[in-house]
């Protein structure tokens, strides 16, 4: 079965995204569905990874709520991050170890997808050893955090196209005191539409992971 991509159009509450992924991971581990990649935007939320520390929050749960930002735990690796509209989130539900490309390591491949996507829009980005995400001269453009259950992946990468960067001011992203940037901040009026970035990311994903994606509509669960 070839890999599938789903482009979810509504800003999805984070908790619904987690529930959907958990059901997809179980279905993928059982072999009921092929590798599946979700592309979506979240409603505003600050998430704490499994080792996330609340001292990396600058605002309390109530103060976040007053700004319309939910606070949610996440079972992924990594510390604290922000998701919101204008940020492209990619959640691969992949059974690892089934393609030659997997020998490079999942993290390396995810970063590669982010770097190639940035390059398509004229943004030079790079890895920083030991740090989360992909980086540009203006700061971090994309964050990475994932979980592997039964050797099926969940969570993934969030890539800042044109989010409200003010959302990141509620936290020390990933526990680091480093700036966060977006394609909008880097490119101004030349910033592409989120759908254009999503389409390029899906193509790069297919090439890097050797899993060409067929875009499907409807419900990702059978």
């Amino acid at each position: 079965m070839s890999a599938r991509a789903f482009f979810l159009e509504l800003p999805l509450p984070f908790s619904e995204g987690v529930e959907l992924q958990e059901r997809l991971v179980e279905a993928r581990a059982r072999g009921d569905i092929p590798d599946t990649v979700l592309f979506l935007e979240h409603a505003p939320v600050v998430t704490l990874g499994a080792r996330g520390r609340t001292e990396h929050l600058k605002l309390s749960r109530d103060e976040l709520a007053a700004r319309g930002i939910e606070l949610a735990p996440a079972s992924r690796g990594g510390d604290v991050t922000y998701h919101g509209p204008g940020q492209l989130v990619m959640y691969p539900i992949l059974k690892l170890g089934e393609r030659e490309a997997d020998a490079h390591g999942y993290l390396f491949n995810l970063e590669e997808v982010g770097l190639r996507t940035a390059a398509d829009f004229g943004v030079q980005a790079w890895r920083r050893p030991g740090l989360n995400g992909i980086w540009t001269e203006a700061g971090k453009l994309a964050a990475i955090g994932f979980r592997i259950r039964r050797w099926v992946t969940m969570h993934g990468m969030s890539f800042n196209v044109d989010p409200d960067l003010g959302g990141f001011q509620a936290i020390f992203p990933c526990g680091l005191r480093e700036p966060v940037t977006s394609l909008r901040a880097l490119l101004g009026g030349r910033c592409p539409a989120l759908s254009a970035v999503r389409d390029r990311m899906a193509v790069h994903f297919g090439a890097v992971f050797q899993r060409p994606l067929a875009v499907r509509g409807g419900n990702p669960m059978p």
């Binding site: 080792r51 999942y106 592997i148």
Partner: protein, 129 residues
């Protein structure tokens, strides 16, 4: 990827070594490579009764979290107490100092039911790609 020939394996990338009726268990070179530099290990408790395929430990890197599964049913007899302070031992020496726990199998044939090295190697992607 390094796949030692004297071990048995699982489809979830654990290895097991049989010694005196007890299995020593860790994660394979493939698994540690996927997770990158580990920063945290959650161990089972000595005396825990586990079933084959149960989640018994958790390992985390800067970016990833992954469950570790029991290769067989039995009782946990020992855990690698060095790991909480030195999770990097799993990356440096996954088949040696990076062992995670020991389990006494409920039945002696559990070890033989695990995957042979050559078969495990076939489950892995090649290093060219």
């Amino acid at each position: 990827m390094n796949v030692p020939s004297d071990l048995r394996y699982t489809r979830t990338h654990e290895w097991a070594r049989l010694d005196g009726g007890v299995l020593t268990v860790g994660i394979t070179d493939f698994a540690q490579h996927q997770l990158s530099d580990l920063t945290y290990v959650e161990l089972p408790k000595v005396g825990d009764e586990v079933g084959a395929g149960d989640e018994v430990a958790v390992v985390e890197s800067v970016k990833a979290a992954s469950d570790i599964y029991a290769p067989c049913g039995g009782v946990i007899t020992e855990v690698n107490a060095a790991l909480p302070d030195r999770p990097d031992l799993i990356n440096r020496d996954p088949y040696g100092e990076g062992w995670i726990f020991k389990v006494r199998p409920a039945s002696a044939d559990e070890f033989d039911a695990l995957i042979e090295p050559d078969e495990y190697e076939e489950l892995l992607p090649g290093s060219e790609g």
